[in-house]
């Protein structure tokens, strides 16, 4: 890890005044330290935002759940309000990483963490994402890589919370210098390699995530998150699904379905959403929707198994949503 200057910010203004192009904000520090230890990041100054006050709120107000960016994944997993109507978000947090990491990792940092692609994380591979010419995953070890939008760079978006929050239509409040604030849909904030090869989102230099805003779903909505790893104890997902479904009896009235560990951004399964909306949810319609979701996939040499995996998980999750109705 390179050596650096350290500054502990007491306010947003102070944090932003300490920021330079060669600096990095630190929240929980889990991803930042990892990147520094691998020599992928080498900031000259670390601006600690972990001790900013008032950014660990959980508050429902006027049809919107406000989540502070400094909430830890453990706090999100344990919160009764979140679990009551946004259980996909609580479950995404509860199933991410290890108990220790969940105690350290923050929501803001989880959304902005860099991809886990082993070529990206290895300094010996000057891959496209790091400004090189080649995406090594195309011809290489790509069993954990993307099955959608994988032609330029085949990373999967690493954030479980992003998967659940996109399904819930969450927005971010971003605060720039001089307290300029903007609000952006998380789904639009997270960008594909075709938009910017070197980044996974459109955060501006010095900007901070200051609020995560999630609409309150209808009282009859089902909010579900499931994760499939290779082993039962902690693991990164090889597939994850978040969905918010509203039902009228056994008929699906509306569906928001997102696949994680599938694409360079949380992948909105619009084909499945269209296929299931207005239908009675049963094995046949759920299976057809799941097939539709995977029809546009472009698997690489070693990740074709993900198609069958996602199809089964998606069918099962739709039936589970109906079961809970």
């Amino acid at each position: 890890m390179n050596n650096f200057e350290w500054a502990d910010a007491k306010s947003i203004d102070e944090a932003q005044s300490l920021m330079t192009d060669a600096s990095a904000y630190k929240a929980g520090g889990v991803d930042l330290l990892d990147l520094m230890k691998e020599h992928i990041a080498a900031p000259k100054r670390i601006v600690n935002i972990r001790n900013l006050q008032g950014f660990d709120q959980i508050k429902e107000d006027g049809g919107v759940l406000h989540l502070g960016p400094l909430l830890t994944l453990a706090q999100i997993a344990d919160d009764k309000t979140i679990r009551s109507k946004w259980s996909a978000i609580a479950d995404a947090a509860a199933n991410a990483a290890t108990p220790q990491i969940r105690n350290m990792a923050t929501l803001g940092g989880n959304l902005l963490q860099r991809p886990r692609c082993w070529y990206f994380r290895n300094e010996l591979f000057p891959c496209r994402k790091k400004g090189g010419e080649i995406c090594y995953a195309q011809q290489g070890e790509n069993q954990y890589h993307a099955i959608f939008n994988n032609q330029l760079c085949a990373i999967v978006h690493p954030s479980a919370l992003a998967c659940a929050l996109v399904a819930h239509g969450a927005k971010l409040e971003l605060s720039g210098a001089k307290n300029q604030k903007r609000e952006v849909l998380l789904e639009e904030f997270l960008t594909l390699p075709s938009v910017d090869l070197h980044r996974e989102n459109s955060i501006q230099s010095g900007e901070l995530i200051t609020d995560i805003r999630v609409p309150t779903p209808r009282a009859d909505a089902k909010s579900i998150y499931i994760k499939q790893g290779e082993k039962e104890s902690f693991d990164w997902p090889i597939a994850e699904i978040a969905m918010v479904l509203t039902m009228d009896g056994e008929t699906c009235k509306s569906a928001s379905i997102v696949l994680g560990a599938a694409a360079p951004v949380p992948h909105r399964a619009t084909e499945a959403e269209q296929a299931i909306t207005g239908k009675k949810v049963d094995e046949q319609s759920a299976g057809a929707a799941a097939k539709a979701a995977l029809a546009t996939a472009t698997p690489l040499a070693l990740n074709g198994y993900k198609l069958a995996l996602f199809e089964n998980l998606l069918t099962r999750t739709l039936l589970q949503a109906k079961g809970n109705a």
């Binding site: 650096f4 350290w6 500054a7 502990d8 520094m36 108990p99 220790q100 902690f234």
Partner: protein, 206 residues
């Protein structure tokens, strides 16, 4: 976040007595407390490093200080600077939990925590779990159940299990599995770890 200095109902004074072996560290620490109090008073943003600076850490109730660079992790500071090698470093990436310590009562990876960031917090390591010569029930039951082989994962494993029992007096087997789900044991001693922890829970209730 809660600052749970009242863990297990041990008073700070009682705990310091119990941790008498670290008296030398505590003595060095006293001047460091003063230095830290002065440091934390400045008006504007204070930038420190990259050169080494004096960092004060409260470890197992004793104030300690060391001259370290900002990049020093808590795991390194404990092992290298404070000579407390009970905490192990294995992966150094947050992926194995061998380095688990408690910060303000919460188990975290000391390899992914900067020492400078742990100032002013209550740090508990494996060395601070026993009360003098009296082992913590989890330690006692690990011995009783032979819950270690090479022992390298053991300090982290015990810190995870003991943390669980702080918050949950009646853990189920699943609770123990979840609490240790980040602790990798390559010798595969898990079943004995689970038995030992459940036995320790019983012992603590009795």
């Amino acid at each position: 976040m809660s600052t749970s200095s009242s863990n297990r109902g041990i008073s700070r004074r009682g705990f310091l007595k119990g941790a008498g072996v670290t008296a030398a560290g505590a003595a060095i620490g006293e001047s460091a407390v003063v230095a830290f109090a002065e440091e934390s008073a400045p008006k504007g943003p204070k930038i420190v490093g990259p050169k080494p600076l004096s960092v004060s850490l409260k470890v197992n109730g004793a104030e300690k200080s060391a001259a370290i660079e900002p990049r020093t992790t808590l795991a390194e500071a404990l092992r290298v600077n404070l000579d407390m090698t009970g905490t192990k470093i294995v992966c150094d990436r947050g992926a194995c939990s061998a380095c688990t310590v408690w910060i303000d009562g919460t188990p975290v990876n000391s390899c992914m925590t900067l020492a400078i960031d742990a100032q002013g917090k209550d740090i508990r390591t494996i060395e601070g779990l026993a009360m003098g010569d009296t082992l913590h029930p989890v330690q006692e039951q690990f011995i009783e159940h032979d819950a270690m082989q090479c022992g390298f994962c053991t300090p982290g494993m015990i810190m995870s299990c003991a943390a669980l029992l702080e918050h949950n007096k009646n853990p189920s087997l699943d609770d123990v599995k979840t609490a240790t789900s980040g602790n990798l044991c390559r010798c595969g001693t898990y079943p004995k770890v689970f038995d030992a922890t459940l036995a320790a829970a019983k012992m603590m209730k009795a």
